[in-house]
Amino acid sequence: MTEVDTVRLDLPATHKYLNVVGACIGELLERVEGLHEPTVLTYNIQLAVHEICANIVDHAYGEKSPAGRIGITFTLQPVTRTMHVDLHDTGAAFDAERYQEPDLDAAQVRGYGLFLVKELMDDVLYETEANGNHWRLTKQL
């Protein structure tokens, strides 16, 4: 890690190909030296990014936009030892006002996705842009 490296992935918004996302993250982190608990760290980033993607498939596009796509940019910052994952979609916006944290003591069927993302990443940003939605996940390596 001596330069800023970016890898971009662009795929159909379907659960079918989300396995590609996790594999990319795994291989990218293979190339980062000196990770603390690399297996757990990799799993956590894979799960967080996977949950954002699954939400884009289920909620941003829903049944309506089967032809939608997810654009993902992975950025490795060597100096700050940071990984950024930027996700773009052109589906419906996320309504942060209406979002409710899950009550972990009352077993519930849905609602663990964003909770996991927030717990597993150091920073989660969501914004609407002119041409869609942008999620940025940040993790210190």
Partner: protein, 112 residues
């Protein structure tokens, strides 16, 4: 002397998925579990030891199963995944409090 001997057979079904449980294939697992529920099974051991990755869609399947099993007087016990990272997620989401957890399928069976 009259001696009454009754036999009680408790049916417990062990389900061991092999591989990832995620949004892509959670429906397959849900379908299989629904079949079992519809057959009247309400005691389950879900053996996650060979599940290397479990997302929130997979977790939803586990909670749905638990709700339906308990509604009919049964229960669901989980076997911990082998993968440490996956174990941590079950602790983070307090699944290890909602479900009875065991290290092996045998231990889970014996806990019924």
């Amino acid at each position: 002397m009259d001696i009454t001997v009754d036999e009680h057979i408790i049916r417990i079904v062990t389900v061991a998925p092999h591989g990832r449980i995620d949004a892509f294939n959670a429906a397959t697992l849900r379908g299989r579990l629904d079949e079992l529920l519809n057959e009247g099974v309400n005691r389950f051991v879900l053996d996650l030891s060979d599940v290397p990755f479990l997302d929130s869609a997979g977790m939803a399947v586990l909670i749905s199963l638990l709700k339906r099993a308990r509604q009919s007087g049964g229960d669901v016990k989980l076997v911990w995944p082998a993968e440490e990272a996956a174990r941590r997620i079950l602790r983070l989401t307090k699944f290890d409090r909602v479900f009875a957890m065991s290290e092996t399928a045998d231990m889970a069976l014996n806990s019924f």
